[in-house]
């Protein structure tokens, strides 16, 4: 099926809002901030995405999901362009995305706490709010969690172990 109507950028962005992150299904790829641009040349649609982490296994799935969503709408001619620079940062995550994350049980990134290029050995842990009881009395269990983008925390009040979406910039 080929859509008789020429694609518009606004429509493509709308469709991308319906593509979710396979590892955090409550987030759309727009919430996550990985879509850098949409360009349309004739019937060809180019979607530029940027990986969160170099080895993120979700990126291939996301590219496939984008193709499938656009194909279902009658746009078969889709090019997915992977852009490395500027590198993805959690600053690009939407406010709505952050709220959805917390409601889902994952603590959203606390801005400005990326260790970035500073090697703060045994530094003070970021004060992360427990997504269950909202206490900030929590501690870092491991910098490396269930996926590349998350760290593992535990709440000292309700004792819930939880994922924290690391601040990355």
């Amino acid at each position: 099926m080929v859509n008789a109507v020429a694609p518009t950028e606004a429509h493509i962005w709308q469709l991308l809002e319906e593509v979710s992150d396979p590892e955090v299904p409550v987030l759309s790829i727009l919430d996550l901030g990985i879509v850098r641009g949409v360009t349309i040349a004739g019937e060809q649609i180019t979607v530029t995405i940027t990986p969160t982490y170099s080895g993120c296994p979700a990126m291939n799935v996301i590219a496939t999901e984008i193709r499938l969503r656009l194909l279902a709408e009658g746009y078969p001619n889709v090019v997915i362009h992977n852009q490395l620079s500027p590198a993805w940062t959690t600053d690009w995550m939407s406010q709505a995305g952050r709220e959805k994350l917390e409601a889902y049980g994952i603590a959203p990134p606390v801005d400005g706490t990326a260790t970035g290029h500073v090697l703060n050995l045994f530094g003070k842990d970021t004060a992360v709010r427990c997504p269950v009881c909202k206490s900030t009395h929590t501690h870092l269990v491991s910098q490396f969690g269930s996926t590349a983008c998350k760290a593992h925390y535990q709440c000292d009040d309700c004792l819930e172990p939880f994922d924290y979406f690391k601040c990355h910039n």
């Binding site: 993120c56 290029h117 090697l119 910098q143």
Partner: protein, 264 residues
Amino acid sequence: MLPQNHFSAADAAPATAPLFPFVLQLADTSLILAHRLSEWCGHGPVLEQDLAMANIALDLLGEARSYYQYAAELEGQGRTEDDLAYLRSAVEYRNPLLVEQPNHDFAHTILRQFLFDNFHYHLLKALLTCPDAQLAAIAEKSVKEASYHLKWSSEWVIRLGDGTPESRQRLDKAIATLWRFGEELTTPTAMEKALQEVGVLPDYAALKPAMQAHTEYVFAEATLPLPTQVFAQQGGKNGRHTEHLGYLLSELQYMQRTYPGLTW
């Protein structure tokens, strides 16, 4: 903080030395270390550290893929990233000897990681201003991850060195075994020198003070004396490997070698 610019005024000069073998060397290095770390999966001392090593392996594998894809493009002979990773023999691999060394115990793995991370992080920081746009972009992506890695391995060197008599003697043994492989990382081959001369690669000597300062800081915290060993074992970057690489590749490449062109 902006990265310090390690490049000379000759930055704008067109590169006359081929970039392909260097990108391949970076790719091989990240792939082989990723494979070694992934061997820990399911065998880590505690679940969190098992996950940490798998996470670091994944970061390095992603970085290796970026380099292999770029290398395939630079070569322009129709080989793909998979051909480069799966269909080259040990003598064609260009990783330094350090990263192919077996895991042994956790302390051994940690020290290998620390030696590599301390170089990798500082190299990537310098490559941020590389005149080759694609290498700079890969570095920009990877340096953030490398900073997590270096923080992790540094903290573990401190924990093990300043830990129990058992952890200390294991780390001492790792230092005695692995220190000789560190020097190869910052010793340029003829190919790397040629790229340094045209300003594509940073001068490794310029990376050394920051690497040394970090080592001194971590070793002091770990109550470890700085190793005085001067003998340096080299050769991997020129294709002369230890016997370990062949065994590693036979596992890594088994499926593609046995069923050529296999996909799933």
